[in-house]
Protein backbone atom coordinates (compact mmCIF):
# COMPACT_ATOMS: atom_id res chain seq x y z
CA UNK A 1 0.00 0.00 0.00
CA UNK A 2 1.42 3.34 -1.06
CA UNK A 3 0.87 6.46 0.98
CA UNK A 4 -0.80 9.60 -0.29
CA UNK A 5 2.47 11.48 -0.71
CA UNK A 6 3.84 8.59 -2.78
CA UNK A 7 1.55 9.37 -5.72
CA UNK A 8 4.42 9.46 -8.22
CA UNK A 9 5.44 5.97 -7.10
CA UNK A 10 1.86 4.75 -7.37
CA UNK A 11 1.71 6.00 -10.96
CA UNK A 12 4.92 4.18 -11.82
CA UNK A 13 3.58 1.05 -10.12
CA UNK A 14 0.49 1.22 -12.30
CA UNK A 15 2.57 1.57 -15.47
CA UNK A 16 4.75 -1.35 -14.41
CA UNK A 17 1.66 -3.43 -13.64
CA UNK A 18 0.26 -2.65 -17.10
CA UNK A 19 3.23 -4.36 -18.75
CA UNK A 20 2.91 -8.09 -19.42
CA UNK A 21 4.64 -10.16 -16.76
CA UNK A 22 6.18 -12.55 -19.30
CA UNK A 23 7.03 -12.75 -23.01
CA UNK A 24 7.78 -9.02 -23.12
CA UNK A 25 8.85 -7.50 -26.44
CA UNK A 26 12.30 -5.88 -26.41
CA UNK A 27 10.58 -2.46 -26.24
CA UNK A 28 8.47 -3.56 -23.28
CA UNK A 29 11.53 -4.98 -21.53
CA UNK A 30 13.32 -1.66 -21.98
CA UNK A 31 10.26 0.17 -20.63
CA UNK A 32 10.21 -2.13 -17.65
CA UNK A 33 13.88 -1.40 -16.91
CA UNK A 34 13.33 2.31 -17.26
CA UNK A 35 10.25 2.33 -15.04
CA UNK A 36 11.93 0.23 -12.38
CA UNK A 37 14.89 2.58 -12.32
CA UNK A 38 12.63 5.66 -12.16
CA UNK A 39 10.78 4.05 -9.28
CA UNK A 40 13.98 3.35 -7.42
CA UNK A 41 15.35 6.88 -7.77
CA UNK A 42 11.92 8.33 -7.08
CA UNK A 43 11.64 6.46 -3.79
CA UNK A 44 15.17 7.36 -2.83
CA UNK A 45 14.56 11.05 -3.42
CA UNK A 46 11.18 10.99 -1.73
CA UNK A 47 12.51 9.29 1.38
CA UNK A 48 15.58 11.48 1.66
CA UNK A 49 13.39 14.56 1.92
CA UNK A 50 10.41 13.35 3.96
CA UNK A 51 8.67 16.08 5.90
CA UNK A 52 8.03 15.34 9.60
CA UNK A 53 4.33 14.82 8.84
CA UNK A 54 5.15 12.37 6.02
CA UNK A 55 7.45 10.57 8.45
CA UNK A 56 4.48 10.23 10.82
CA UNK A 57 2.56 8.51 7.99
CA UNK A 58 5.44 6.10 7.44
CA UNK A 59 5.78 5.40 11.18
CA UNK A 60 2.07 4.54 11.27
CA UNK A 61 2.07 2.57 8.00
CA UNK A 62 -0.22 -0.47 8.37
CA UNK A 63 2.47 -2.73 6.90
CA UNK A 64 5.28 -1.42 9.08
CA UNK A 65 7.04 -4.23 10.96
CA UNK A 66 5.49 -4.78 14.40
CA UNK A 67 7.03 -6.27 17.51
CA UNK A 68 5.76 -9.67 16.36
CA UNK A 69 7.97 -9.27 13.26
CA UNK A 70 10.98 -8.07 15.23
CA UNK A 71 10.66 -10.97 17.66
CA UNK A 72 10.37 -13.49 14.83
CA UNK A 73 13.21 -11.92 12.86
CA UNK A 74 15.69 -11.28 15.66
CA UNK A 75 15.35 -14.08 18.18
CA UNK A 76 15.95 -17.81 17.85
CA UNK A 77 13.77 -18.37 20.90
CA UNK A 78 11.04 -16.36 22.57
CA UNK A 79 9.16 -17.50 25.67
CA UNK A 80 6.28 -15.16 26.34
CA UNK A 81 5.39 -14.48 29.97
CA UNK A 82 1.99 -13.17 30.95
CA UNK A 83 0.27 -11.05 33.55
CA UNK A 84 1.00 -8.43 36.16
CA UNK A 85 0.04 -10.67 39.15
CA UNK A 86 -2.30 -7.92 40.31
CA UNK A 87 -5.13 -7.55 37.86
CA UNK A 88 -4.71 -9.18 34.48
CA UNK A 89 -2.73 -9.63 31.30
CA UNK A 90 -2.60 -6.63 28.98
CA UNK A 91 -2.14 -7.71 25.36
CA UNK A 92 -1.05 -4.21 24.38
CA UNK A 93 2.34 -5.02 25.92
CA UNK A 94 4.12 -8.27 25.19
CA UNK A 95 7.14 -9.59 27.07
CA UNK A 96 9.31 -12.59 27.75
CA UNK A 97 12.74 -14.17 27.58
CA UNK A 98 14.40 -14.21 24.17
CA UNK A 99 17.66 -15.33 22.63
CA UNK A 100 19.60 -13.14 20.22
CA UNK A 101 22.64 -15.05 18.94
CA UNK A 102 24.65 -15.72 22.09
CA UNK A 103 22.64 -13.21 24.11
CA UNK A 104 19.80 -14.01 26.45
CA UNK A 105 17.61 -11.01 27.06
CA UNK A 106 14.22 -9.94 28.42
CA UNK A 107 12.25 -8.41 25.60
CA UNK A 108 9.31 -6.10 26.28
CA UNK A 109 7.32 -4.03 23.83
CA UNK A 110 4.09 -2.49 22.73
CA UNK A 111 2.01 -4.77 20.55
CA UNK A 112 -0.12 -3.41 17.75
CA UNK A 113 -2.07 -5.60 15.38
CA UNK A 114 -2.75 -5.96 11.67
CA UNK A 115 -6.38 -5.63 10.75
CA UNK A 116 -9.26 -4.72 12.98
CA UNK A 117 -9.65 -7.97 14.98
CA UNK A 118 -5.98 -8.06 15.84
CA UNK A 119 -5.97 -4.39 16.73
CA UNK A 120 -8.96 -4.72 19.00
CA UNK A 121 -7.23 -7.57 20.78
CA UNK A 122 -4.07 -5.52 21.26
CA UNK A 123 -5.99 -2.26 21.81
CA UNK A 124 -3.97 -0.61 19.02
CA UNK A 125 -0.88 -0.85 21.20
CA UNK A 126 -2.36 1.41 23.88
CA UNK A 127 -1.47 -0.14 27.22
CA UNK A 128 -3.38 -0.04 30.48
CA UNK A 129 -1.82 0.03 33.96
CA UNK A 130 -1.63 -3.77 34.04
CA UNK A 131 0.52 -3.62 30.90
CA UNK A 132 3.03 -1.26 32.49
CA UNK A 133 2.98 -3.33 35.69
CA UNK A 134 3.59 -6.54 33.75
CA UNK A 135 6.52 -4.83 32.03
CA UNK A 136 7.95 -3.79 35.39
CA UNK A 137 7.52 -7.26 36.82
CA UNK A 138 9.47 -8.71 33.90
CA UNK A 139 12.18 -6.06 34.23
CA UNK A 140 12.67 -6.93 37.89
CA UNK A 141 12.92 -10.55 36.83
CA UNK A 142 15.57 -9.59 34.29
CA UNK A 143 17.48 -7.88 37.08
CA UNK A 144 17.27 -11.04 39.18
CA UNK A 145 18.19 -13.36 36.30
CA UNK A 146 20.95 -10.93 35.31
CA UNK A 147 19.90 -10.55 31.69
CA UNK A 148 19.69 -7.23 29.82
CA UNK A 149 16.33 -5.74 28.88
CA UNK A 150 15.41 -4.74 25.32
CA UNK A 151 12.31 -2.57 24.98
CA UNK A 152 10.45 -1.97 21.71
CA UNK A 153 8.37 1.18 21.53
CA UNK A 154 5.44 1.51 19.17
CA UNK A 155 2.31 3.09 20.63
CA UNK A 156 0.01 6.03 19.97
CA UNK A 157 0.01 6.52 23.76
CA UNK A 158 -1.20 5.01 27.01
CA UNK A 159 -4.88 4.02 26.84
CA UNK A 160 -7.07 7.00 27.78
CA UNK A 161 -9.95 5.00 29.24
CA UNK A 162 -11.92 5.32 32.46
CA UNK A 163 -10.82 1.84 33.58
CA UNK A 164 -7.17 2.73 33.03
CA UNK A 165 -7.56 5.85 35.18
CA UNK A 166 -9.39 3.89 37.84
CA UNK A 167 -6.54 1.41 38.13
CA UNK A 168 -3.90 4.12 38.24
CA UNK A 169 -2.45 4.74 34.79
CA UNK A 170 -0.45 7.66 36.16
CA UNK A 171 0.96 5.65 39.06
CA UNK A 172 1.86 2.70 36.84
CA UNK A 173 3.84 4.83 34.40
CA UNK A 174 5.43 6.91 37.17
CA UNK A 175 6.61 3.83 39.03
CA UNK A 176 8.18 2.43 35.86
CA UNK A 177 10.09 5.67 35.25
CA UNK A 178 11.47 5.62 38.77
CA UNK A 179 12.33 1.94 38.86
CA UNK A 180 13.75 1.74 35.35
CA UNK A 181 16.09 4.63 36.17
CA UNK A 182 17.68 2.45 38.85
CA UNK A 183 17.24 -1.08 37.42
CA UNK A 184 20.48 -3.01 37.93
CA UNK A 185 20.75 -4.47 34.46
CA UNK A 186 21.33 -2.85 31.05
CA UNK A 187 18.28 -1.51 29.24
CA UNK A 188 18.27 -0.89 25.49
CA UNK A 189 15.26 0.99 24.13
CA UNK A 190 14.31 0.97 20.44
CA UNK A 191 11.63 3.23 19.02
CA UNK A 192 10.42 1.22 16.03
CA UNK A 193 7.28 3.12 15.02
CA UNK A 194 5.26 5.62 17.02
CA UNK A 195 6.70 6.88 20.28
CA UNK A 196 3.55 8.26 21.85
CA UNK A 197 4.27 10.37 24.90
CA UNK A 198 4.09 8.97 28.47
CA UNK A 199 2.74 5.70 27.12
CA UNK A 200 6.01 5.23 25.25
CA UNK A 201 8.27 6.49 28.03
CA UNK A 202 6.57 4.11 30.48
CA UNK A 203 8.74 1.33 29.04
CA UNK A 204 11.33 3.69 27.57
CA UNK A 205 13.90 4.64 30.22
CA UNK A 206 17.25 3.05 29.51
CA UNK A 207 20.97 3.23 28.86
CA UNK A 208 20.76 3.68 25.14
CA UNK A 209 17.93 4.95 22.95
CA UNK A 210 17.89 3.66 19.38
CA UNK A 211 15.42 4.90 16.81
CA UNK A 212 14.52 3.59 13.38
CA UNK A 213 15.07 6.32 10.82
CA UNK A 214 11.37 6.73 10.00
CA UNK A 215 10.06 6.35 13.53
CA UNK A 216 8.75 9.34 15.47
CA UNK A 217 8.81 10.15 19.19
CA UNK A 218 6.80 12.98 20.68
CA UNK A 219 5.41 14.47 23.88
CA UNK A 220 1.99 14.69 22.20
CA UNK A 221 0.57 13.56 18.87
CA UNK A 222 0.81 16.22 16.15
CA UNK A 223 -3.00 16.13 15.92
CA UNK A 224 -3.39 16.70 19.65
CA UNK A 225 -0.84 19.50 19.67
CA UNK A 226 -2.49 21.17 16.67
CA UNK A 227 -5.92 21.11 18.27
CA UNK A 228 -4.58 22.64 21.49
CA UNK A 229 -1.99 25.18 20.30
CA UNK A 230 -3.39 25.97 16.87
CA UNK A 231 -7.01 25.28 17.87
CA UNK A 232 -7.24 23.47 14.54
CA UNK A 233 -6.66 19.73 14.14
CA UNK A 234 -5.84 20.13 10.45
CA UNK A 235 -2.63 21.95 11.38
CA UNK A 236 -1.07 18.60 12.40
CA UNK A 237 1.64 18.90 9.68
CA UNK A 238 2.75 22.25 11.14
CA UNK A 239 2.68 20.81 14.66
CA UNK A 240 4.72 17.79 13.51
CA UNK A 241 7.44 20.14 12.26
CA UNK A 242 7.38 22.40 15.33
CA UNK A 243 7.54 19.51 17.80
CA UNK A 244 10.78 18.08 16.32
CA UNK A 245 9.77 14.43 16.43
CA UNK A 246 11.93 12.76 13.78
CA UNK A 247 14.94 10.56 14.52
CA UNK A 248 17.27 13.16 13.00
CA UNK A 249 15.85 15.99 15.10
CA UNK A 250 15.99 13.92 18.28
CA UNK A 251 19.58 12.89 17.60
CA UNK A 252 20.46 16.56 17.33
CA UNK A 253 18.67 17.24 20.63
CA UNK A 254 20.83 14.44 22.13
CA UNK A 255 17.82 12.46 23.27
CA UNK A 256 18.36 9.67 20.73
CA UNK A 257 21.76 7.96 20.76
CA UNK A 258 21.73 6.15 17.46
CA UNK A 259 19.61 6.00 14.32
CA UNK A 260 18.90 2.63 12.71
CA UNK A 261 18.84 3.38 8.99
CA UNK A 262 15.83 1.89 7.24
CA UNK A 263 16.05 0.56 3.67
CA UNK A 264 14.99 2.93 0.86
CA UNK A 265 11.24 3.44 0.92
CA UNK A 266 10.87 2.55 4.60
CA UNK A 267 11.05 -0.57 6.78
CA UNK A 268 7.66 -1.76 5.53
CA UNK A 269 9.05 -2.24 2.01
CA UNK A 270 11.89 -4.45 3.22
CA UNK A 271 11.46 -5.56 6.84
CA UNK A 272 14.26 -8.13 6.66
CA UNK A 273 16.89 -5.49 5.88
CA UNK A 274 15.59 -3.21 8.64
CA UNK A 275 15.69 -6.06 11.14
CA UNK A 276 19.21 -7.05 10.08
CA UNK A 277 20.46 -3.49 10.63
CA UNK A 278 18.82 -3.38 14.03
CA UNK A 279 20.34 -6.74 14.95
CA UNK A 280 23.86 -5.42 14.38
CA UNK A 281 23.25 -2.42 16.57
CA UNK A 282 21.64 -4.48 19.33
CA UNK A 283 24.60 -6.86 19.46
CA UNK A 284 27.10 -4.01 19.52
CA UNK A 285 25.23 -2.26 22.33
CA UNK A 286 24.63 -5.45 24.31
CA UNK A 287 28.33 -6.19 24.14
CA UNK A 288 29.25 -2.71 25.30
CA UNK A 289 26.69 -2.44 28.10
CA UNK A 290 27.21 -5.90 29.57
CA UNK A 291 30.92 -5.08 29.85
CA UNK A 292 30.15 -2.02 31.97
CA UNK A 293 30.01 -2.38 35.75
CA UNK A 294 26.56 -1.92 37.29
CA UNK A 295 27.70 1.13 39.28
CA UNK A 296 29.03 2.85 36.20
CA UNK A 297 26.00 1.82 34.18
CA UNK A 298 23.58 3.37 36.70
CA UNK A 299 25.61 6.55 37.05
CA UNK A 300 25.71 7.01 33.30
CA UNK A 301 22.00 6.31 33.02
CA UNK A 302 21.29 8.94 35.66
CA UNK A 303 23.58 11.46 33.96
CA UNK A 304 22.03 10.75 30.57
CA UNK A 305 18.65 11.97 31.83
CA UNK A 306 20.04 14.66 34.13
CA UNK A 307 21.65 16.30 31.09
CA UNK A 308 18.41 16.58 29.11
CA UNK A 309 17.00 20.05 29.72
CA UNK A 310 20.06 21.21 31.65
CA UNK A 311 21.57 24.29 30.09
Amino acid sequence: MNLEFEKAITELDEKIAALPTQDRTPAQAADFEKLQKARETGLKELYSTLTPWQTVQVARHPERPLIQDFIAGLFSEFIELHGDRLFGDDHAIVGGFATLDAWRVMVIGHQKGRGIDDNLKFNFGMARPEGYRKAMRLMHMAEKFRVPVVCFIDTPGAYPGADAEERGQAEAIARNLMEMSALKTPIIVVVTGEGGSGGALGIGVGDVLLMLSNAVYSVISPEGCASILWRDGTKAPEAATALKITAQALLKLKVVDEIIAEPVGGAHRDPQTAIATLRKSLIRNLDRLTHTSTGKLLNRRFEKYARIGSY
Binding site: A170, V219, L229, G309, Y311
Partner: protein, 278 residues
Protein backbone atom coordinates in the same frame (compact mmCIF):
# COMPACT_ATOMS: atom_id res chain seq x y z
CA UNK B 1 -21.91 42.56 36.23
CA UNK B 2 -20.74 44.78 33.39
CA UNK B 3 -23.66 47.25 33.57
CA UNK B 4 -23.44 47.41 37.33
CA UNK B 5 -19.79 48.45 37.40
CA UNK B 6 -20.41 51.02 34.67
CA UNK B 7 -23.32 52.59 36.46
CA UNK B 8 -21.42 52.75 39.68
CA UNK B 9 -18.30 54.21 38.12
CA UNK B 10 -18.91 57.92 38.82
CA UNK B 11 -19.58 57.32 42.51
CA UNK B 12 -16.77 54.80 42.75
CA UNK B 13 -14.82 56.68 45.35
CA UNK B 14 -17.58 56.07 47.88
CA UNK B 15 -18.75 52.61 46.83
CA UNK B 16 -15.46 50.98 45.87
CA UNK B 17 -13.96 50.24 49.30
CA UNK B 18 -17.11 48.48 50.41
CA UNK B 19 -17.07 46.27 47.29
CA UNK B 20 -13.43 45.48 47.78
CA UNK B 21 -13.81 43.81 51.12
CA UNK B 22 -15.95 41.03 49.62
CA UNK B 23 -15.08 38.17 47.36
CA UNK B 24 -17.25 35.45 45.91
CA UNK B 25 -16.51 31.72 46.19
CA UNK B 26 -16.22 30.41 42.61
CA UNK B 27 -17.84 27.13 43.68
CA UNK B 28 -20.83 27.93 45.91
CA UNK B 29 -21.08 31.66 45.04
CA UNK B 30 -21.17 32.61 48.71
CA UNK B 31 -19.95 36.10 49.56
CA UNK B 32 -16.99 35.91 51.85
CA UNK B 33 -15.02 38.80 53.26
CA UNK B 34 -11.60 39.09 51.66
CA UNK B 35 -10.05 39.12 55.07
CA UNK B 36 -11.52 35.75 55.88
CA UNK B 37 -10.70 34.39 52.41
CA UNK B 38 -7.04 35.29 52.93
CA UNK B 39 -6.99 34.02 56.49
CA UNK B 40 -8.16 30.59 55.33
CA UNK B 41 -5.57 30.63 52.54
CA UNK B 42 -8.32 30.89 49.95
CA UNK B 43 -10.53 28.08 51.19
CA UNK B 44 -14.25 28.75 51.24
CA UNK B 45 -15.54 28.62 54.83
CA UNK B 46 -18.95 27.65 53.52
CA UNK B 47 -18.25 24.79 51.03
CA UNK B 48 -14.58 23.95 51.60
CA UNK B 49 -13.66 24.85 48.01
CA UNK B 50 -9.87 25.14 47.71
CA UNK B 51 -8.94 27.92 45.31
CA UNK B 52 -5.60 27.64 43.52
CA UNK B 53 -2.85 29.56 45.27
CA UNK B 54 0.54 30.78 44.14
CA UNK B 55 3.83 29.09 44.95
CA UNK B 56 4.79 31.96 47.27
CA UNK B 57 1.51 31.67 49.13
CA UNK B 58 2.12 27.95 49.46
CA UNK B 59 5.56 28.55 50.94
CA UNK B 60 4.02 30.98 53.46
CA UNK B 61 1.47 28.34 54.30
CA UNK B 62 3.91 25.47 54.79
CA UNK B 63 7.22 26.94 55.93
CA UNK B 64 8.01 28.60 59.26
CA UNK B 65 8.33 32.39 58.89
CA UNK B 66 11.75 33.65 57.79
CA UNK B 67 13.22 30.16 57.37
CA UNK B 68 12.79 29.76 53.60
CA UNK B 69 15.82 30.04 51.36
CA UNK B 70 15.16 29.89 47.65
CA UNK B 71 17.43 27.69 45.53
CA UNK B 72 18.16 28.03 41.80
CA UNK B 73 16.00 31.15 41.29
CA UNK B 74 17.80 32.10 38.10
CA UNK B 75 17.08 28.94 36.15
CA UNK B 76 14.70 29.86 33.35
CA UNK B 77 13.19 28.29 30.22
CA UNK B 78 15.46 28.02 27.21
CA UNK B 79 13.16 27.34 24.22
CA UNK B 80 15.21 24.34 23.02
CA UNK B 81 13.10 23.83 19.87
CA UNK B 82 12.66 27.47 18.87
CA UNK B 83 8.97 26.69 19.07
CA UNK B 84 6.38 28.75 17.20
CA UNK B 85 2.70 27.82 17.01
CA UNK B 86 -0.44 29.29 15.48
CA UNK B 87 -0.60 31.97 18.14
CA UNK B 88 3.03 33.02 18.28
CA UNK B 89 6.44 32.31 19.72
CA UNK B 90 7.02 30.25 22.83
CA UNK B 91 9.74 32.73 23.77
CA UNK B 92 7.09 35.46 24.00
CA UNK B 93 4.84 33.26 26.12
CA UNK B 94 7.70 32.68 28.54
CA UNK B 95 8.23 36.41 28.84
CA UNK B 96 4.53 36.98 29.42
CA UNK B 97 4.46 34.33 32.14
CA UNK B 98 7.51 35.83 33.83
CA UNK B 99 5.89 39.25 33.84
CA UNK B 100 2.64 37.86 35.18
CA UNK B 101 4.10 35.74 37.98
CA UNK B 102 7.44 37.34 38.82
CA UNK B 103 8.88 33.82 38.56
CA UNK B 104 11.46 32.47 36.13
CA UNK B 105 9.88 29.02 35.87
CA UNK B 106 6.78 27.10 36.87
CA UNK B 107 8.37 25.80 40.05
CA UNK B 108 9.77 27.51 43.13
CA UNK B 109 12.48 25.52 44.92
CA UNK B 110 14.37 25.85 48.17
CA UNK B 111 14.66 24.69 51.74
CA UNK B 112 13.21 25.78 55.04
CA UNK B 113 11.62 24.56 58.23
CA UNK B 114 8.20 23.04 58.88
CA UNK B 115 7.41 23.26 62.57
CA UNK B 116 11.19 23.43 62.92
CA UNK B 117 11.87 20.30 60.86
CA UNK B 118 14.23 21.16 58.01
CA UNK B 119 12.95 20.12 54.57
CA UNK B 120 13.76 20.59 50.90
CA UNK B 121 10.80 21.91 48.96
CA UNK B 122 9.58 22.34 45.39
CA UNK B 123 6.29 24.11 44.75
CA UNK B 124 4.68 24.40 41.34
CA UNK B 125 2.76 27.50 40.31
CA UNK B 126 -0.17 26.94 37.98
CA UNK B 127 -0.12 30.56 36.80
CA UNK B 128 3.17 29.98 34.99
CA UNK B 129 2.04 28.36 31.71
CA UNK B 130 -0.34 26.05 33.54
CA UNK B 131 2.40 24.85 35.86
CA UNK B 132 3.73 22.87 32.94
CA UNK B 133 6.78 20.63 33.23
CA UNK B 134 9.58 21.98 31.04
CA UNK B 135 13.31 21.35 30.85
CA UNK B 136 14.15 23.91 33.48
CA UNK B 137 11.23 22.85 35.70
CA UNK B 138 12.63 19.33 35.68
CA UNK B 139 16.09 20.71 36.24
CA UNK B 140 15.05 22.60 39.38
CA UNK B 141 13.11 19.63 40.73
CA UNK B 142 16.07 17.31 40.16
CA UNK B 143 18.63 19.74 41.59
CA UNK B 144 16.49 20.14 44.70
CA UNK B 145 16.24 16.37 45.14
CA UNK B 146 20.03 16.21 44.81
CA UNK B 147 20.21 18.93 47.49
CA UNK B 148 17.87 16.88 49.71
CA UNK B 149 20.06 13.82 49.15
CA UNK B 150 23.26 15.65 49.99
CA UNK B 151 21.88 17.18 53.18
CA UNK B 152 19.67 14.22 54.02
CA UNK B 153 16.50 16.32 54.14
CA UNK B 154 12.97 15.06 53.56
CA UNK B 155 11.76 16.26 50.17
CA UNK B 156 8.31 17.78 49.72
CA UNK B 157 6.95 18.54 46.25
CA UNK B 158 3.67 20.40 45.86
CA UNK B 159 2.30 19.72 42.39
CA UNK B 160 -0.04 22.00 40.45
CA UNK B 161 0.33 21.27 36.77
CA UNK B 162 -1.49 20.45 33.58
CA UNK B 163 1.40 18.19 32.51
CA UNK B 164 4.35 18.38 30.15
CA UNK B 165 5.01 21.67 28.33
CA UNK B 166 4.56 20.70 24.69
CA UNK B 167 6.45 23.78 23.47
CA UNK B 168 9.59 21.94 24.57
CA UNK B 169 8.62 18.70 22.81
CA UNK B 170 10.64 15.65 23.75
CA UNK B 171 12.73 17.66 26.22
CA UNK B 172 9.65 18.16 28.39
CA UNK B 173 8.66 14.48 28.10
CA UNK B 174 12.13 13.42 29.26
CA UNK B 175 11.76 15.52 32.42
CA UNK B 176 9.33 12.87 33.64
CA UNK B 177 12.15 10.34 33.61
CA UNK B 178 14.70 12.84 34.89
CA UNK B 179 12.71 13.88 37.96
CA UNK B 180 11.85 10.25 38.75
CA UNK B 181 15.54 9.30 38.53
CA UNK B 182 16.13 11.87 41.28
CA UNK B 183 13.39 10.38 43.45
CA UNK B 184 14.87 6.90 42.92
CA UNK B 185 18.11 8.13 44.48
CA UNK B 186 16.26 9.44 47.53
CA UNK B 187 14.48 6.11 47.79
CA UNK B 188 17.78 4.26 47.77
CA UNK B 189 19.18 6.55 50.48
CA UNK B 190 16.05 6.12 52.65
CA UNK B 191 15.12 9.77 52.46
CA UNK B 192 11.40 10.45 52.61
CA UNK B 193 9.62 12.03 49.71
CA UNK B 194 6.15 13.42 50.34
CA UNK B 195 4.08 14.34 47.32
CA UNK B 196 1.33 16.94 47.77
CA UNK B 197 -1.19 16.87 44.94
CA UNK B 198 -3.18 20.05 44.45
CA UNK B 199 -5.62 21.18 41.79
CA UNK B 200 -4.76 20.22 39.09
CA UNK B 201 -2.14 17.46 38.94
CA UNK B 202 -2.58 15.87 35.55
CA UNK B 203 -0.81 14.43 32.50
CA UNK B 204 2.94 14.07 32.63
CA UNK B 205 3.25 15.38 36.18
CA UNK B 206 0.74 12.88 37.56
CA UNK B 207 2.61 10.16 35.64
CA UNK B 208 5.97 11.05 37.13
CA UNK B 209 7.26 12.42 40.45
CA UNK B 210 3.80 13.30 41.83
CA UNK B 211 2.82 9.60 41.96
CA UNK B 212 5.98 8.06 43.39
CA UNK B 213 5.89 9.58 46.86
CA UNK B 214 6.28 7.58 50.03
CA UNK B 215 3.16 9.44 51.07
CA UNK B 216 0.59 11.07 48.78
CA UNK B 217 -1.48 13.89 50.25
CA UNK B 218 -4.14 15.66 48.19
CA UNK B 219 -6.18 18.77 48.81
CA UNK B 220 -9.96 18.26 48.86
CA UNK B 221 -11.53 18.26 45.41
CA UNK B 222 -8.23 18.45 43.52
CA UNK B 223 -8.31 17.15 39.94
CA UNK B 224 -5.75 14.35 39.65
CA UNK B 225 -5.39 12.07 36.64
CA UNK B 226 -3.42 11.07 33.58
CA UNK B 227 -5.70 11.52 30.57
CA UNK B 228 -8.01 14.50 30.12
CA UNK B 229 -11.72 14.08 30.78
CA UNK B 230 -12.70 15.08 27.24
CA UNK B 231 -10.28 12.59 25.66
CA UNK B 232 -11.59 9.80 27.86
CA UNK B 233 -15.21 10.65 27.09
CA UNK B 234 -14.43 10.62 23.38
CA UNK B 235 -12.64 7.27 23.73
CA UNK B 236 -15.30 5.43 25.72
CA UNK B 237 -18.25 7.39 24.25
CA UNK B 238 -19.70 7.92 27.71
CA UNK B 239 -20.15 10.79 30.12
CA UNK B 240 -17.98 10.50 33.20
CA UNK B 241 -19.34 11.06 36.70
CA UNK B 242 -18.58 14.43 38.33
CA UNK B 243 -16.27 12.97 40.97
CA UNK B 244 -14.12 11.21 38.36
CA UNK B 245 -10.39 12.01 38.86
CA UNK B 246 -11.12 14.02 41.99
CA UNK B 247 -8.95 13.59 45.08
CA UNK B 248 -11.77 11.68 46.82
CA UNK B 249 -12.01 9.27 43.85
CA UNK B 250 -8.28 8.59 44.03
CA UNK B 251 -8.47 8.01 47.77
CA UNK B 252 -11.23 5.46 47.14
CA UNK B 253 -9.11 3.70 44.55
CA UNK B 254 -5.99 3.50 46.68
CA UNK B 255 -3.71 6.06 45.06
CA UNK B 256 -3.77 8.70 47.80
CA UNK B 257 -2.90 8.28 51.48
CA UNK B 258 -4.71 11.29 52.83
CA UNK B 259 -6.91 14.19 51.85
CA UNK B 260 -6.03 17.14 54.03
CA UNK B 261 -7.57 20.59 54.28
CA UNK B 262 -5.23 23.41 53.46
CA UNK B 263 -5.17 24.81 57.01
CA UNK B 264 -4.14 21.39 58.35
CA UNK B 265 -1.54 20.64 55.68
CA UNK B 266 1.56 21.93 57.45
CA UNK B 267 0.81 20.23 60.75
CA UNK B 268 -0.06 16.97 59.02
CA UNK B 269 3.21 16.87 57.07
CA UNK B 270 5.20 17.82 60.15
CA UNK B 271 3.45 15.11 62.18
CA UNK B 272 4.28 12.51 59.56
CA UNK B 273 7.91 13.59 59.42
CA UNK B 274 8.24 12.98 63.15
CA UNK B 275 8.06 9.28 62.33
CA UNK B 276 11.16 9.52 60.20
CA UNK B 277 14.31 8.70 62.13
CA UNK B 278 17.33 9.99 60.30
Amino acid sequence: MGWFTKKQAPAASVEQPKQDIWTQCPACKAHVSKEEWDKTFKVCPRCNFHERITARERVDLLIDPKTFTELYPKIKPSDPLGFVDGKGRYADKIEEARQKTGMNESVLTGYGRMNRIKVALAVMDFRFLGGSLAGSTGEKILLTSTYALKHRLPYIIVSASGGARMHEGIISLMQMAKTCAGIARLQEANIPFISILTDPTTGGVSASFAMVGDIHIAEPGALIGFAGRRVIEETIKQKLPDDFQKAEYLLDHGFIDLIVRRDQMKNTIASLLKYYRR
